[in-house]
Symmetry: C2
Subunit: 305 residues, 2 copies
């Protein structure tokens, strides 16, 4: 029996990725394009999926969206991007626009939760429960899965905005978070690196001492997440982490910061296997959206029984 | 029908509290005594409960223990206090010792998880899911309940040891954590206060500017927990928090640190109702142990069905 096909949308603030797939080994179609106005960006997605929906080839669509997003199903703005610094996108009804145009089940969640799902189902955190997916790029955010489900409490998690020790002596940069100045995101995201150097992080050589400071900030945050959430696997993606030499620096520094306090083999001896890059490369988000679509489809199967 | 009675042990590093109760409104017997050697301390608990067990009056006993503890039921040292700085207590088989002497169901968890349970069932976090209980005393630790169950991941949570910004300008104290120096616990626990002043925190006047620094550290940690765990209620107990004037300072500072980033009515308008002292006063731990005993008793009822 052929596997069911689903639609997945990685709705990023910089680019959109839309795929039709049954999983990582079977991606039938894919488009990637820059995020422009909400109207233009969302209608390109609609056009891409329309033939697959009309012909009944896809059973559900999953959307992992940049944020902040409203994830409360009881709210009148459920499925909206709320107040975002991204020009033109504040108060955009992403889910409603897609549902109106595409008559198929559509599930919606925030980008990091969806990427966490993809990594948990097919990527680097398979079999690890609880697990944490962190992205360090234009923004910093995390999705934490417990029993395979994204943790939502009073609000969505916003772990990019935690306060960490700021190494003022070696790094007087005040931070670029408009809300908090030198929170984790304000110190360590891509734009903060670019602001310090006048060039993008990708152009800064590997031997620049700044990378030790960047690794220190990431490690402080990861250490806190380990002590607070105790995930069994931490997957770290995003543009900044394309510089793979950061991983060994982070492994050493997290080890140093924990200083033997938590005695776990994973942490003490196998930290290279504990804090890892995404198993799905740059497809965590789009394949995670497929995983989300599969969940809503399963749920509907259950309801039909 | 009279309510069932249970035994509860708050096994603290400074004192033990043993109670027989059906809940906060019906505490039948209670003893409190200083923690000395493991043998002496545990046998006093055994002597207290023995008549209630022999006569069949109590159906189960719950234990909330200081730590670190081994909570993995598959481990050969399950129910042990593991490597603790408390003299004489390292590698103590707390659960095994009690089970050998008292033929009744006995449930075991770490002190903060148990106090969190007590507050969730009968105290300040009733109806709030997820919820966080934090103690700031000789040590600092937290218990996080999700769906009413303490979160355990790869390891027990150790949120007292997170790194937070250290206000070196106003507070050059290097911290007293033997593992991490100036982690949250190293900066803000009771002994760290005493080390700075040469007298206990209880003797430091309310108008001493240090209390603003103490509130700053607590607020940084709480802000991070809000962003990472998103509890619907935060209960803060422990000896340091006996100084109730700390609460309004913490409310103001958490508000300032979040700076409107997370838009929730609880945080923006009702923060006095969001970060609160224990509803059970100094009985969160002992009554939490009763709640734990009730759970194991219910579980056995379920298994008999």
């Amino acid at each position: 029996m052929p596997k069911r096909l689903y639609g997945g949308i990685e709705a990023g603030g910089t680019k959109f990725v839309c795929i039709v797939a049954s999983g990582p080994d079977h991606i039938v179609d894919e488009i990637r394009y820059s995020t422009t106005s909400p109207e233009e960006t969302l209608s390109r997605a609609v056009q891409f999926f329309e033939p697959f929906v009309t012909s009944g080839q896809i059973h559900a669509i999953g959307v992992g969206s940049f944020g902040p997003v409203d994830l409360n199903p009881k709210s009148s703005t459920y499925g909206f991007i709320t107040a975002t610094p991204k020009p033109g996108w504040s108060h955009t009804d992403v889910l409603g626009t897609l549902r109106k145009a595409l008559p198929v089940n559509i599930a919606f969640d925030m980008d990091v939760n969806v990427a966490a799902l993809g990594e948990y189902l097919w990527g680097a955190s398979q079999g690890s429960d609880p697990s944490l997916y962190l992205t360090i790029g234009t923004g910093i955010g995390g999705g934490y899965l417990f029993n395979g489900v994204p943790l939502v409490g009073m609000l969505n998690l916003e772990m990019g905005h935690v306060r960490i020790p700021h190494n003022l002596e070696l790094d007087p940069f005040p931070g670029n978070c408009p809300f908090h100045g030198d929170c984790f995101e304000g110190l360590a995201n891509g734009p903060a690196i670019e602001k310090r150097f006048g060039v993008a992080g990708a152009a800064i050589p590997e031997d620049d001492p700044f990378w030790d400071i960047e690794a220190e900030y990431i490690s402080s945050a990861l250490t806190n997440f380990i002590l607070t959430l105790s995930p069994k696997k931490i997957v770290v993606g995003g543009g900044v982490m394309q510089r793979e030499f950061l991983f060994p620096k982070i492994h050493r520094k997290v080890h140093e910061l924990l200083n033997g306090y938590v005695s776990s083999k994973s942490l003490l001896e196998e930290i290279e296997e504990y804090i890892v890059p995404p198993g799905l490369g740059n497809q965590s988000g789009s394949l995670g959206a497929i995983a989300l679509a599969m969940q809503v489809d399963d749920l509907n199967d259950d309801l039909r029984l």
